[in-house]
Amino acid sequence: MGRIMSRLDVRKTYKLAIGGAFPRSESGRTYVVEDAQGRFLANAASATRKDARDAVVAARKAFGGWSSRTAYNRGQILYRAAEVLEGRRAQFVEEVQGSEGLSRKNAEATVDAATDRLVWYAGWADKLAQVVGGTNPVSAPYFDFSIPEPTGIVGVLAPQESSLLGLVSVVAPVIVTGNTVVVAASTARPLPSITFAEVLATSDLPGGVVNVLTGPQADTAPTLASHMDVNAIDLTGTLGNDDVGKELEIAAADNLKRVRRAQDEDWNADPALDRMTWVLETKTVWHPIGI
């Protein structure tokens, strides 16, 4: 009886997530991703300006459909994503542990918090309009009401440290409100972002609603900040690099993007509404009352 050789594992190729597909970078470039101890983890795709532009096109294409889904449906899809994430818990624990150098217990807690965060935001889909909108008691015979609507295409520079919980915390509020997103993942810790894109792709989220770029954020951030078809940009990933954040904010002014400046955030704390409201427009509608 021959000895059974230990099975060779099948490694995963990490690519980008654009428009519902998982393409390599158009440049063909990759970069080495290491774990917290500096050991090789994987080669990840290194996105370029062109990839960023392609992702914006995909996000724009997806916006009309996604923003006109019912709020209930968007909530269901986000909840579905939480279910799928939970089902892949072991994989995420391993990736988060590798990326962030956490203990197993901490990595588990982080993945669980990410799942719970998705559930929390999923529930907001069909409630936020009642909290931030309403009717306006104008002093003339008009029915006047204000409702929140998505701003459009949002560029997100994901936090550098928190590779999954941070990522989910910045992406979920943007899409639950009906926006579509191009997210530049953490430069050094990109792997969970692509696995998360796989979760979204199997959760009935339409292609193009979430597009993920890996690679140095510095390669894609200027394109997202200056792109005339991006409506808002979240500079969270520039935390600690004030000069970079300022340059990007200046570029964002060309089409008057809504800008969220980097601020120190505790991803384990319960979020407020502001990560949803900053990507919402208030629309006010007037109609005469009469017979």
Binding site: N136, L256, V285, H287
Partner: protein, 500 residues
């Protein structure tokens, strides 16, 4: 002191219109005797009128006659600095220590004085700005008082506006306002800022500083603590100094998209919170089932209200092809009854263009409209010889590529386009970098709401246009700016929530 002139010396007194012979109105000018203008005004800093550090000045004129109304101090960076220091002191020592209830009482008091002095303010606004007294008296000034009354009530209820967030003021707000609704824009800026516990430095527009200076007197009459409101007059340079000042916590600006972009760049990388209310190129969409006569009134209100100097003006008429001929015929007939002339005449519908500079811009873009092949039409109309005037004008046969369909003219000039289907109307309406407002005229409720849902604009008027209210949030999508003014939403730009 500028003496009160007899109205007969007014160049161009009495409205003129093509309807002479059908409706001849005798001149019905509002009296200027209610005004008590000084010949010169200093800057209002720390509760006092003071001379500017460098001592420069400029003149504010009546755009209807080019008469000099008063000499106005020109504030520079040194003056702005003094004003910001005064505002900071007032914030730290007085205003932020007052309870919301007491702050609110000051605002109520100001609202009452505004009501008491409303006639004076209306006359001065029409004189300095050129808008018809009918509008300053019935729209601008009543809304000014209403804004203060509305936000006064919020001052001690902020915890209810944002439950669980413990809102706190930002500090010192730098506010820059335009010339189209001088005092109304002041009230949109100052009332919510003060209600939320901030102090302000406000720069009125160069061509329309007078009602802001009268408002400074009203602050004195109300015994508002010194430094809570500071008014620094001047031109663009003064505004730039204010926006760039390192000790302001907030910038609020209403004006052009180009200046809005500059401001967004100036504040990049700072802690300053920003709200921008910028330009527009609103579509006013008329369907074939609309009540046509009401729609025609709405079109006229949409573009000729305030001489078209309105960021949310309905400057693109999108009319369904099947009724285009009828709508245009009725619109032209209605336009011939518009009375253009002396802003102080109670019968005037369309007043003076605010400045020579703005008139030149309107003329230039209108000439471009002709050169690009659109058909230009104005009712026959005798314009006064002095002052700045432009007749109500429409352009037909306009395409989406024409500059007059894309750029904000900010004057009484309407571009007319047509559409066949609701989807085409939506596509054309949204085909602009702006997104401030839109209008929809149809008798079908479901269609109104469908259109309102699809239009990418901050305000949608269905079977009405150019309506404003202190309780109603206002502000744009896309390059029309960000943030909202009015209503509960209008508080948000003046508060912070962090626990620090």
């Amino acid at each position: 002191m500028v003496s009160t002139r007899s109205t007969t010396s007014d160049p161009g007194s009495g409205p003129t219109s093509a309807s002479t012979g059908i409706f001849d109105y005798a001149p019905a000018p509002e009296s200027r005797s209610v005004l008590n203008l000084r010949s010169s005004y200093g800057l209002f800093i720390d509760g006092e009128f003071v001379d500017p550090v460098a001592g420069g000045s400029f003149k504010s004129i009546s755009p209807a006659s080019e008469e000099v109304l008063a000499e106005i101090a020109e504030g520079d960076a040194a003056d702005v600095d003094l004003a910001v220091q005064a505002a900071r002191r007032a914030y730290t020592r007085t205003w932020s220590r007052l309870s919301g209830r007491e702050r609110g009482k000051y605002l109520f008091r100001i609202a009452r004085i505004l009501q008491e002095r409303s006639r004076e303010l209306a006359v001065l606004e029409s004189l300095d700005n050129g808008k018809p007294i009918r509008e300053s008296r019935d729209v601008d000034i009543p809304q000014v008082a209403a804004n203060f009354f509305y936000y006064a009530g919020w001052a001690d209820k902020l915890d209810y506006a944002f439950p669980g967030k413990a809102p706190r003021p930002l500090g010192v707000a730098g506010q820059v306002i335009p010339w189209n609704f001088p005092l109304l824009m002041l009230s949109w800026k100052i009332a919510p800022a003060l209600a939320c516990g901030n102090t302000v430095v406000l720069k009125p527009a160069e061509t329309t500083p007078l009602t802001a200076l009268l408002f400074a007197e009203i602050c004195q009459q109300a015994d508002l603590p010194p430094g809570v409101v500071n008014i620094v007059t001047g031109a663009g340079e003064t505004g730039r100094a204010l926006v760039a000042h390192p000790d302001i916590d907030k910038v609020a600006f209403t004006g052009s998209t180009d200046v809005g972009r500059q401001i967004a760049k100036t504040v990049a990388g700072t802690r300053k919170k920003v709200t921008l209310e910028l330009g527009g190129k609103a579509a006013n969409i008329v369907f074939d089932d609309a009540p046509i006569d009401q729609a025609v009134e709405g079109i006229v209100d949409g573009i000729f209200f305030n001489q078209g100097h309105v960021c949310c003006a309905g400057s693109r008429l999108l009319v369904q092809e099947s009724i285009a001929e009828d709508v245009l015929a009725r619109l032209k007939r209605r336009m011939t009854t518009l009375r253009v002339g002396d802003p102080l005449d109670k019968n005037t519908d369309v007043g003076a263009i605010n400045s020579a500079e703005q008139l030149a811009k309107i003329r230039e873009l209108s000439d471009v409209g002709e050169q690009e092949g659109a058909g230009r039409w104005s009712p026959p109309c005798d314009l006064p010889s002095n002052g700045f005037w432009f007749p109500p004008t429409i352009f037909t046969g306009v395409t989406q590529a024409h500059r007059i369909a894309r750029e904000e003219i900010f004057g009484p000039v309407l571009s007319v386009l047509t559409f066949r289907t609701p989807a085409e109307a939506v596509e054309k309406a949204n085909n602009t970098p702006f997104g401030l407002s839109a209008g929809v005229w149809t008798d079908k409720g479901s269609r109104s709401l469908w259109m309102a849902d699809k239009l990418r604009a901050g305000v949608v008027w269905a079977n009405t246009f150019n309506k404003f209210d202190p309780a109603s949030p206002f502000g744009g999508y896309k390059e029309s700016g960000y943030g909202r003014e009015g209503g509960r939403h209008g508080l948000e730009g003046y508060l912070r929530w962090d626990a620090s």
